[in-house]
């Protein structure tokens, strides 16, 4: 694994993030995902602006579609979208809304916003790749801890575990926003269904990268990235 992040990269990213205006309501959730997103695009995902349609690319599905400022900033930093797009978030002529649309933004795999849809789509994507003999790509789905309240996720967690869907990685950014919490730890909801799990500090890039590559054959994998609670 080549570590390519430089201080220059991160300051560019910071500048891009500041350009994404008009998303104050969701700012805490947007920023909670920044480090995970950066590590994914910087070190993990095998996808570039030139391969957004390549059948054997890795897939990244942002299920937690609200607060996508960090996502857009990372996409701009990696060249998927022009930085100018960040200046008019959700404006009348903008292709970037408060929830991303896959048909409007290059490199975005799913349109999301309504919670609880991404993991099911990710399961289907992993199954579709397998059925076509594409065994290299991995499918990463990013969710929030409160999003796990949606029952649709539990359908996907149980099924992916039962069938050993090992091309799938879920990333749960845990900023303690679930109304009733997840006593016993988020990871246990997955491991009891046959997943492997790693819980990490959601700001520690090396730890995140290690966790994102800690999957094992025959099992889906979840990375729980813990960040400061929502305020």
């Amino acid at each position: 694994m080549t570590v390519t992040t430089t201080t220059a990269d991160l300051s560019v990213l910071d500048g891009l993030l500041r350009r994404v205006t008009g998303d104050e309501k969701h700012a805490p959730s947007a920023h909670s995902t920044l480090d995970v997103l950066w590590v994914l695009y910087d070190r993990i995902l095998r996808v570039t602006p030139d391969t957004v349609d390549a059948p054997d690319r890795d897939r990244f599905l942002l299920s937690k579609g609200h607060g996508p400022a960090a996502y857009y900033a990372v996409l701009a930093a990696r060249g998927f979208i022009p930085p100018e797009w960040l200046d008019d978030l959700a404006g009348p002529d903008s292709r970037l809304g408060h929830h991303p649309d896959r048909l409007l933004v290059p490199g975005v795999e799913i349109g999301s916003g309504s919670l609880g849809h991404g993991l099911g789509l990710g399961v289907g994507t992993a199954l579709g790749l397998r059925a076509q003999g594409l065994s290299d790509p991995r499918v990463y789905v990013l969710l929030g801890d409160a999003e796990l309240d949606e029952g649709a996720n539990h359908e996907a967690i149980a099924y992916a575990g039962a069938t050993g869907l090992d091309r799938l990685t879920a990333v749960v950014v845990d900023n303690r926003s679930a109304t009733h919490g997840w006593p016993g730890g988020i990871d246990t909801r997955f491991t009891v269904n046959g997943w492997t799990a790693t819980t990490v500090d959601g700001r520690d890039h090396d730890a995140i990268a290690a966790a994102l590559t800690a999957h094992r054959p025959g099992r889906p994998h979840v990375v729980v990235a813990v960040v400061a609670p929502k305020h």
Binding site: G111, S114, L119, G120, L127, G128, E155, A156
Partner: protein, 292 residues
Amino acid sequence: MRDTFIETTTTLLAENPRTAVVLADISAVALEPAARRHPDRVLNVGIREQLMIGVAGGLALTGLRPIVHSYATFVVDRAYEQIKLDLDHQGVGAVLVSVGASYDGAEMGRTHMSPGDVRLFDTLTGWTVHVPGHRDEVEPLLRAAADHDEPVYVRLSTASNATALPGPGRLRVVRRAGPGAPLAVAVGPVLDPLLTATEGLEVTVAYTHTPRPFDVAGLRALAGRDVILVEPYLAGTSSAVVARGLSDVPHRLLALGVGGSDLRRYGTPADHDRWHGLDAAGLRRSISAFLA
């Protein structure tokens, strides 16, 4: 119709490597031989209908052609938001194939009835809706649907007309009355009761197994002043389409179909046909009163 669906789908899986089937336990036993031959393309997710549609969306995003099957009330009613977001909003299609129709499962009660399914597809855009009236209409409709990537809903029923009318989805005249006569349109398996009901009346009877897109050109060519619509799902489902198609032509419309209320009665599909006025006698009463 369900057996034909199973046979055709099993054949399609063997012929067309793009096809995949997603199930939520319903009909899983019948498709087991196909699942053994194509384990990566016959996916039974268990009793998880939201996931069933999500998986179909994911499969379609990778370029496969998913065929999704369950009772109408589960694959459509229960998973409506998944249909809207995991298929429509992602810009991908699937072939959704239901059984159970409006009240084929009358003895199981309201939980297994879905008279509103076709109307729900009218809240989305671009869906082709097939309502075959005979098992021999099922295979060609499914084969055509498997051949492209657009969204298709196929509504199978245990109700059936005596004769199959396969072929394109245009309105087909089954009994022609004189010029300007009232036009009665039957969708799917309500054709036979409509033919009995209009016996001896000066009414042109036309048939379609494809209410969406509705054959508006055919409607305009056949319609006189009086138009009667007979549909095996919620009454008036196609009224808006007919009204738009005839907006510049003076006309009267009688829309017959399943009533909107929960009758809280079991019984047989024939009992429900009678209670909703969709048996020959009930149709005759409504049509005679309209034309009187």
